[in-house]
C-alpha cells in the first residue's frame, strides 16, 4: 500500500494538496462505494480555525491524597503543540484531563481565549478532541461502524461530514480494514482508528495521550504530518509523549513540577490552626 504522494515528513504542511491515494475509489465489501473527493485535498484543510489561546496559570492537580504537580504555567498559541514529558505517574494524563475539563484542577486556572474554564465548564466542550489512553471505540462494532457513529455524533449533519470521514480513512490508511470488527485488529491498527476520530469534526484543540505508541514508523510519520496540517490551520495540540516529536511549540517537563515536602498548594485553608 503506497504511503501516498506526500513528500516524506513535512513539518509545516501549509494547506498544500495532501492527496494520499485519494484517486483510488474505495470498494468496501460491495456494501458501499465511497465517492472520490472532488479536489483530493482533505476538505477541512481550507477553513483555518478562529484564533484561540490556551493558557494554564499556577495549575495544581491532586490524585487521591497526593499532589501530582503544582505551580504549572504555560501558554499555547495557535499553530503550536505543547509536548509534555516526564516519568510515569508525573501527571501527564491528569493534565490532559484537566485541559479537557473532565476533572477540575486542585488549584490554579485554565484559560481559553482568556475565559476561565472553571466559570463555564462547557466552554471547551465543542472545541476539544480528546484521544485518551483508552480509545473510545466499541469492540463489537466494525471500524466503519465506529467511525460512522462518531462522525454522525460529532458532526452537524452537514454534507461535508461524509467527506471528512472519507478523508480520515484515507489519511490513516484504513481503507482495507473498514469491515473488520474492532476486536480482530492489532493495537496499532486500533490506534489508527482512534486517531482517525480526530479528523471527523473540525476541533481547534487536540489533546493526545501518547499518540505514537503502537504505531509503526510509517504511521508515526503520517501522524506527524497530520499534526502539522492541524497546526498549520491555526489549531492547537497538547501531547503527552515519551518520544521527542519535531513539532513547533513549547515543551514541558512535568518532573520539575512535582511537589516538594511542604508543597504550599497543599496547605489548603482547611488546616490553618485559627
Amino acid at each position: 500500500m503506497d504511503p501516498g504522494s506526500g513528500a516524506g515528513v513535512t513539518k509545516f504542511g501549509g494547506g498544500a494538496d495532501k492527496s494520499l491515494g485519494a484517486d483510488r475509489s474505495i470498494a468496501y465489501a460491495g456494501f458501499m462505494t465511497m465517492p472520490k473527493p472532488a479536489n483530493g485535498a482533505a476538505p477541512h484543510a481550507t477553513q483555518p480555525f478562529p484564533h484561540a489561546v490556551l493558557a494554564g496559570h499556577d495549575l495544581a492537580c491532586r490524585r487521591g491524597d497526593q499532589l501530582v504537580f503544582h505551580g504549572l504555567n504555560f501558554t499555547l498559541e495557535p499553530g503550536e503543540a505543547l509536548c509534555l514529558y516526564g516519568p510515569n505517574g508525573s501527571g501527564k494524563t491528569s493534565l490532559l484531563r484537566l485541559l479537557a475539563g473532565l476533572s477540575p484542577p486542585f488549584s490554579g486556572e485554565i484559560r481559553w481565549n482568556g475565559e476561565a474554564l472553571s466559570r463555564t465548564p462547557a466552554l471547551l466542550r465543542e472545541q476539544v478532541m480528546f484521544a485518551g489512553f483508552s480509545l473510545a471505540l466499541k469492540e463489537a462494532l466494525s471500524v466503519y461502524e465506529n467511525l460512522q457513529f462518531w462522525s454522525r455524533f460529532l458532526g452537524d449533519g452537514g454534507h461535508d461530514q461524509k467527506a471528512l470521514m472519507e478523508a480520515a480513512i484515507n489519511r490513516l490508511g484504513l481503507e482495507d480494514l473498514l469491515a473488520i470488527p474492532l476486536h480482530a485488529l492489532s493495537s496499532g491498527q486500533r490506534k489508527r482508528v482512534s486517531l482517525a476520530r480526530l479528523l471527523l469534526a473540525p476541533r481547534p484543540l487536540w489533546l493526545l495521550d501518547e499518540p505514537t505508541t503502537a504505531l509503526d514508523r510509517d504511521h508515526q510519520a503520517r501522524l506527524i504530518d497530520l499534526l502539522g496540517d492541524h497546526l498549520a490551520q491555526g489549531g492547537l495540540a497538547v501531547l503527552a509523549t515519551h518520544q521527542s516529536l519535531d513539532l513547533p511549540g513549547p515543551r514541558l517537563d512535568l518532573d520539575g513540577y512535582a511537589p516538594a515536602f511542604d508543597a504550599p498548594a497543599f496547605q489548603s485553608p482547611l488546616f490553618e490552626d485559627g
Binding site: 484531563r97 479537557a100 475539563g101 473532565l102 476533572s103 477540575p104 462547557a122 471547551l124 466542550r125 465543542e126 476539544v128 478532541m129 480528546f130 485518551g132 489512553f133 483508552s134 480509545l135 473510545a136 471505540l137 466499541k138 469492540e139 463489537a140 462494532l141 457513529f149 462518531w150 454522525r152 455524533f153 460529532l154 452537524d156 449533519g157 476520530r197
Partner: protein, 222 residues
C-alpha cells in the same frame, strides 16, 4: 443536538442486541423468573391469579436491575464516556439517551410479553390490558432511576451488587402503584389513579434522574 441524541440512542440499542449486549438474556431471565413462582407457590390457579400482578412487576424490577450495571460501565472502561462528555450533547442528555435506549432494548420487550405471562399465571383476561398499560407507563422509571445507581457505582469495583441495594428501595412506589393498577381491575380501587401516579413517577424521574446521574458520572470521570 437532537440528531446526536437519536444517534447515541440507536447505537446503544444496536449494541445491546449485538453479541456483547444483554437484551436477549434479560428477556430470558424475565421468562424464567416468572415461571419459577408456580413451583414455589404451587399450581393452584386461585393463588396464582391473586399474586400474578405482583409476580410480573417484581420480575420486571429484577430484570431491569440485571442489565443496569453495564449501562455506563462498558463506555466508562473503553473511554467512550469521556468522548461522549466532550461531544455536542450535554451529559444529562447523554444519560437520558442511554436510559431510554436501555428501556427500549431491555424493558419494552418485557412489557410486550407480559400479557402472555399474565395468562400463564391465570390472571383474569380483562386485567391484561391494564397490566400492559401499567408496565408501559411504569417501567421507564425503572431505567431512569436505575441509571442513577448505575452512574454512582460506575467507578466502583464490583458495583453490580451495590446497585440493587441503592435502587430497590426507590423502586417501591413504582411497584406499589404498578401492582395497585393491576389489582384495582376488580373495582375495589380506581385503576386510573394508580396509572396517573405511575406516569407521574416516570416523568419526574425523567427530569431528576439524568441530572443526578450526570453528577455521578462527572464524579467517576474526575
Amino acid at each position: 443536538m437532537l440528531r446526536a441524541f437519536f444517534i447515541l440512542m440507536m447505537r446503544d440499542i444496536g449494541l445491546s442486541y449485538k453479541q456483547g449486549g444483554a437484551a436477549g438474556l434479560v428477556i430470558a431471565f424475565y421468562a424464567v423468573a416468572i415461571s419459577l413462582f408456580p413451583f414455589g407457590v404451587g399450581p393452584d390457579s386461585a393463588i396464582l391469579a391473586r399474586i400474578a400482578g405482583g409476580v410480573l412487576w417484581i420480575a420486571a424490577l429484577l430484570s431491569a436491575l440485571l442489565s443496569l450495571d453495564r449501562l455506563f460501565q462498558a463506555d466508562y472502561e473503553d473511554g467512550t464516556l469521556d468522548a461522549l462528555a466532550l461531544g455536542p450533547l450535554p451529559l444529562p442528555l447523554v444519560v437520558l439517551a442511554k436510559a431510554l435506549a436501555h428501556w427500549l432494548a431491555m424493558l419494552l420487550p418485557l412489557v410486550i410479553l407480559s400479557p402472555l405471562f399474565g395468562l400463564m399465571l391465570h390472571l383474569e383476561a380483562q386485567a391484561l390490558p391494564t397490566l400492559f398499560l401499567a408496565l408501559l407507563i411504569g417501567t421507564p422509571a425503572l431505567s431512569l432511576l436505575g441509571a442513577v445507581a448505575a452512574g454512582l457505582t460506575v467507578a466502583v469495583r464490583r458495583g453490580g451488587a451495590l446497585i440493587a441495594l441503592l435502587v430497590l428501595p426507590l423502586y417501591i412506589p413504582t411497584l406499589i402503584f404498578g401492582v395497585g393498577a393491576v389489582d384495582a381491575v376488580d373495582g375495589l380501587a380506581s385503576v386510573s389513579a394508580n396509572l396517573n401516579f405511575l406516569g407521574g413517577l416516570s416523568l419526574m424521574f425523567a427530569v431528576l434522574g439524568p441530572l443526578a446521574t450526570a453528577g455521578a458520572l462527572r464524579l467517576a470521570m474526575e
